[in-house]
């Protein structure tokens, strides 16, 4: 079971269907494991056979473009519509991961999505956890899909 692939597949499914936007996963440049520059992050906790956090980090313009497509509306600024949309997308990507892991016999429960937004913030997880991070290109730029997790034995 490759969590990176599961993360990419679930993100792609949500973007293909609901956002109707092409996504292209990219390789993480060497040594760039640390910093991500984002204006809005959707975050959701996972519990059960896997304990983890799913984070989707978006720059301002990308978040607005995605929201406009998802809701079928004009989006002028990073407002509550964008934050709610990012939360909803995070929820659906987590749902896809849950379904995929269920097929592998792993039971996962989801918490509720939270959206963090700001000009400069960092999101970190317990330093002992495993981490998968994938930059994903879309028309207006790149966003990052990140999964931090520990497996329950």
């Amino acid at each position: 079971m490759n969590l990176g692939e599961t993360l990419i597949a679930s993100t792609k499914e949500v973007f293909d269907t609901m956002v109707m936007m092409e996504t292209t996963p990219e390789a993480l440049p060497e040594g760039q494991a640390g910093s991500i520059s984002a204006s809005v992050t959707g975050t959701l906790g996972l519990a059960g056979d896997l304990r983890g956090i799913l984070n989707l980090h978006f720059p301002d313009e990308v978040a607005r473009d995605i929201t406009a497509s998802l809701l079928g509306m004009e989006i002028e600024e990073l407002d509550d519509d964008v934050k709610d949309a990012i939360g909803e997308i995070t929820n659906m990507v987590a749902g896809g991961i849950k379904t995929a892991l269920a097929r592998e016999g792993m039971d996962l429960e989801l918490s509720i999505p939270t959206t963090v937004a700001g000009k400069s913030y960092q999101v970190n997880c317990f330093s002992g956890a495993n981490r998968v991070i994938i930059p994903i290109a879309v028309p207006k730029g790149t966003f990052w899909a990140e999964l931090k997790f520990m497996l329950n034995s």
Binding site: E13, T17, L70, G72, M73, D81, D84, G96, T99
Partner: protein, 123 residues
Amino acid sequence: MGKKVLIVDDSSTMRKIVTRSLRQAGLDFEAILEAGDGQEALQILGGETVDLILSDINMPNMDGLTFLKEKAANAAIKDIPVVMISTETGSDIIGEAKSLGAVGAIKKPFTPDQVNETIGSLI
């Protein structure tokens, strides 16, 4: 005469997404009504006639399955077709919804085409 649809989901964002998908599926509704849970849906149905109901399953106050039960017990509204829209993929939950009267289900995430396929023939 135009058709009316009622969207039942606790997420206002999801209700906007469904509205957008209906439009892109080429389904023309005279009015799109919204409810945040099964209870609110029943209240709205007490005063409005709708031709189709799209409902989530997991909602506070009254969930989708309980809503189906309540609706089935109400002669005035029991025959309005209900399609479930949910992340629940378990065939047992969808099976239960169908046994309670739902005529179909759309799994999130979905495309406008999928919406059209499931709903198009109902209106």
